[in-house]
Symmetry: C2
Subunit: 271 residues, 2 copies
């Protein structure tokens, strides 16, 4: 369920990370965090029992472009000291998804009722982090400016599996002119902790995408004359992996509903 | 006239810059310098009367991606102190082109008979400089591995004009898979003094190229299934500019026949 909040885009953008998290904690807004606290790090959140944490961490490490690890908490401690020490990872995301044996069983604005003392939380990078850098470079980003939703596609590229986890890579897509794509590759290469450079551009079929106007997750965006689709490894990979690997208990943010950290986007740049 | 030299590719690659220049100075080889003294900086050379030097320098500066200035000599001094202090720019290039009023009037292995004390020499960056970086990254470069010749195309992109000089941008092209193109963009962005990142990929018609298999200068290369053409601003631009601007007297290297400097390719990298 999406609740329309009484904030215009400029007000959303101007919130501090703490104010944005408080707004989500109040459960007034259960939609996309795109454009909130603009220029601050947007993160994915995954929680699972400690018994599976090491294997999931290995999966993130092997598939670092899609699932770049920012932080892993101790079991039972729903706080990321490095990225937002005052925030509670159980309440400060607008909307969570709860999975049992790979099936979506609930979508909730907080996961207090699901929390267990053996839960480990993973904070993962998200491409919304380079929204601000793309905007500053005049590169189209219609997920930000038009739809407000992500456009994610399941590919035919297999992730590197671990003992417990496997699944196909999911990518996000932004259409742009070739010269803009070249600039976008330069810009996003500076952000390896939030997916970094694209992994493909051009022909969607080459990576197993049948219809570019039908994303598997989120909403489509317009592709203008002369533009090519540009694809980035995406945190949406967690859902293809959950569907395939069927972990007993797995909690994540809902698509586009991220955890906003205290750090700025630019603090994530390697150059 | 091209003289076949008794050197195999490995011997060519192993020459020092000084040895390669001596080989060209002996006029045994009047062909492409591709693969000679591999990993050393390959440069374009332009010479023209001092009366036009300032305007040509302004043209290079305004069109820096195509014509990146490495050095400009004083009038009458055919030596680039910074890049090869022991070399003579009048003899150490395998083949030169001499133009009068924009027309090619001679192609010669040295320009001693054309030299004048008011001549200023420009040393310009060339994309052969990142051949070694592309090779090290496993990116196809069939100009190096198959044809030995450049593939250059006149585009419909106008250079920024100066008072005396104008003309369309000329680009070089290498075909590769999209994922390789993404890596090539990262790699070549490190070399702004030798053209840097591509300016276009994909549809040749978008930049005014009618037939990708018919380059305006040099030879075509094979394009394999799934590959896209990737285009870089090219020093070949000097010939489209000479044809348009018709300077009274203008000397350059011949296509693919470069001046090899003492510096290594990697010394040109900004990162």
């Amino acid at each position: 369920m999406t609740v329309q909040a009484p904030l215009d885009p400029r007000q959303k953008a101007a919130l501090s990370p703490s104010e944005a998290r408080g707004y989500f904690r109040s459960e007034t807004w259960q939609g996309s965090t795109r454009g909130f606290a603009f220029g601050r790090l947007q993160c994915g959140v995954v929680m699972l029992p400690q018994s599976e944490a090491a294997d999931f961490l290995a999966f993130c490490t092997k598939n670092n472009a899609a699932l770049p690890l920012l932080d892993m908490t101790p079991a039972g401690v729903p706080v990321t000291k490095a990225y937002a020490p005052d925030a509670d990872l159980r309440t400060d995301v607008p909307l969570y998804r709860v999975f049992r044996d790979g099936e979506l069983v609930d979508e909730v604005p907080n996961i207090k009722n699901y929390w267990r003392d053996d839960m480990v939380s993973f904070v993962l990078g998200c491409s919304m982090t380079f929204d601000s850098a793309l905007l500053a470079n005049g590169i189209p980003n219609r997920q930000l400016t038009e739809t407000g939703k992500p456009s994610m596609y399941v590919t035919n590229i297999e992730c590197e599996p671990t003992e417990r986890f496997s699944g196909p890579l999911v990518v996000s897509m932004r259409p742009m002119l070739p010269a803009q794509a070249i600039r976008a590759i330069q810009v996003t290469s500076r952000f390896p902790k939030t997916h970094g450079a694209p992994n493909h551009f051009g022909d969607p079929a080459a990576i197993g995408i049948a219809d570019i106007m039908k994303p598997d997750i989120g909403a489509p965006v317009r592709i203008l004359d002369g533009e090519v689709p540009v694809f980035w490894p995406c945190i949406g990979t967690i859902w293809s992996v959950v569907a395939r690997s069927k972990p007993p208990f797995f909690i994540s943010h809902a698509p586009g509903c991220m955890f906003i950290a205290d750090l700025s986007d630019e603090e994530m740049s390697v150059l």
